[in-house]
Symmetry: C2
Subunit: 147 residues, 2 copies
DNA sequence: ATCTTTTTTAGAACCATTCTAATTTAATTA
DNA sequence: TAATTAAATTAGAATGGTTCTAAAAAAGAT
């Protein structure tokens, strides 16, 4: 459970721990769904009906700046968030947009001449394809518009 | 020049070739800037002042569906497009968001047990770091808000 | 030249995200 | 525990990217 660490870190840098933030942190803790801000908002709103979207966005931005979560550009329409900050990669279903983590390291170094003085600080591999559900169900699960 | 091929392909499937579409195709042909819809709109509007954003979006979607361009999820805020459909990867500057192509193949196969019945159809590697301009100029070129 | 179908257009609508300014609250200190 | 103060929350407005709409224009076929 990374939750406790997050809370401690929060306080250590002079940020206030509010019930709303705690709810967001709890939702994110161990979450493997790579949720969007709206996903998070919908969830925590159940417990805090007055919750504002701004709070979700602010909290996510604060967490990101502190390096406690990652912002993913996996979805063309919206940002998605990953509370797992271990470097890893993603398997993305082209049909239902679900995302599976891939905890592996690959040797993908780019030689000098190919990177033109660019300093490479990290990498992220998107594998795209079809998840087992979508591969079987010829219709079900569809959530996007590839064609 | 892939332009001619695109025009032929267009007609072959019964799509009409209009001056607006031609302008968009010409702008994309050989373009290595990974432009957004807005970038394209601004450019072609110079030549066609009545050009509508809808035309740009429609054309891009048509091209994408036909596999003539690729839609990139490189930028969290907007889609960007790549007329180069050869499989390749991208070097993304965290500071100015410029993108450099990497024409290399990497062995990134994911073993059975790691992909849980997922069928992998392709992959795309994002290398992120700092381009030479941004690395030198401590301020210039900044276009985003990493911190 | 006419006809049919597709495309273009301006603008409205929509969704994700950011901003705003007033109100509330966590944490500190007396 | 009450007062203080800096930070967080809130509803809603504003913004930016994208999609939709319905009417007008134009491409390609006959």
């Amino acid at each position: 459970m990374v939750l406790k660490k997050m809370i401690d870190r929060y306080k250590a840098i002079g940020l206030k721990m509010t019930p709303q933030r705690l709810a967001i942190l709890e939702y994110l803790d161990g979450n493997r769904e790579h949720p969007s801000a709206e996903d998070i908002y919908r969830h925590v709103k159940k417990r805090f009906p007055t919750m504002s979207r701004a709070t979700v966005y602010n909290t996510l931005e604060t967490l990101r700046k502190r390096g406690l979560i990652m912002e993913l550009s996996i979805d063309p329409m919206k940002k998605r968030y990953d509370p797992n900050i271990e470097p890893h990669h993603h398997l993305i279903c082209l049909r239902c947009r679900n995302v599976l983590d891939v905890f592996m390291e690959f040797d993908v170094s780019v030689p000098e001449e190919a990177r033109k003085d660019f300093v490479i600080l990290g990498n992220h591999i998107e594998f795209y394809g079809l998840c087992s559900k979508c591969r079987n169900a010829s219709h079900g699960e569809a959530r996007n518009k590839e064609a």
